[in-house]
């Protein structure tokens, strides 16, 4: 779990992963050795204060060199919200995230539909499965000018103007996925929804001990 200055969802994700039986540790963004880890998550927040563009500075944090290497080598990599933005800026995912169509910070439950189950985030879900997950973002509007990108989950409504109503996007090989809504905030029915569990469980299932 990579922590940049300004990341603020890391404890929620660690708690959710551990709750599902996985192991997770926080790693500061200056770390350059991730050999002990079988998967990498970039959690949400405001890395480096979102200076310049969301993810634009975080992309050059020391840890990102090894994140790119591991992603290229097939290690499962997940970016949630701001982490999704960082992965786009780093070129690990296609496209970019711009301000929501209506220029509002969206903070509500949204329904997403899984459209591709051959990725590290969706393998345990079923195609067409609908999940109710909180969306909390201002720059959540994914654009892909050249039409590239595997859309893994779509918004049932269209809250922010994303191309192809994409809520989650994967690279060609499916080992790098970015999702704008927060699955870790939907891991307890008492708190409104546990629909995020199937996604994080998929990610845990994809981990192969190094």
């Amino acid at each position: 779990m990579v922590v940049f200055p300004g990341t603020n969802c890391e404890h929620d994700v660690v708690s959710a992963i551990r709750g599902l039986g996985g192991e997770a540790e926080l790693v500061w963004h200056r770390e350059t050795n991730l050999d002990d880890f079988d998967g990498i998550i970039l959690p949400g927040g405001f890395a480096h204060g979102d200076a310049l563009r969301t993810g634009a500075i975080a992309r050059f944090s020391p840890v990102m060199r090894v994140v790119v290497e591991r992603a290229d080598a097939g290690t499962p990599v997940l970016g949630i919200c701001n982490g999704f933005q960082v992965l786009c800026e780093a070129g690990l995912l296609p496209g970019a995230l711009i301000a929501n169509r209506d220029l509002s910070f969206i903070c509500k439950y949204v329904e997403v539909e899984v459209t591709d189950t051959s990725t590290v985030l969706t393998s345990a879900a079923e195609r067409g499965q609908r999940l109710r997950i909180p969306l909390n973002s201002y720059e959540g509007n994914w654009v892909s000018p050249d039409g590239s990108g595997r859309v893994v989950a779509t918004y049932v409504d269209d809250p922010n103007g994303s191309s192809r109503q994409a809520a989650a996007v994967a690279n060609e090989t499916g080992n790098v996925v970015g999702i704008m809504p927060h699955p870790e905030r939907a891991t307890d029915a008492l708190l409104g929804s546990n629909d995020g569990e199937v996604l994080l469980q998929s990610f845990i299932n994809a981990l192969v001990p190094a």
Binding site: R53, F60, A96, I98, N100, R101, D102, L103, V143, P145
Partner: protein
């Protein structure tokens, strides 16, 4: 040397902020406004005395960081 860098979102990419400002101007009876795009200007002070070398350096900076090549174009003006 002083360098001015203008970063603009390519015309085919939506600019929600520009659209909102355009709507507000229209609401203020500036009905002649057909489109607003919000661009970004960086003012740099860079060591060096060869304008072409400075321009090349700043172009590198634009490719690496100042502009997002997925969305944006940039224009560089070496002022003095």
């Amino acid at each position: 040397m002083k360098v001015r860098v203008e970063v603009t979102r390519r015309p085919e990419i939506a600019d929600p902020e520009g659209t909102t400002i355009k709507r507000a101007l229209n609401d203020l009876d500036h009905t002649s406004v057909k489109e607003v795009r919000v661009d970004r200007v960086f003012s740099l002070d860079v060591d060096g005395d060869d304008p072409e070398a400075v321009r090349r350096d700043v172009a590198d900076m634009c490719e690496q960081l100042l502009a997002n090549p997925v969305l944006e174009d940039y224009a560089i003006e070496v002022i003095e």
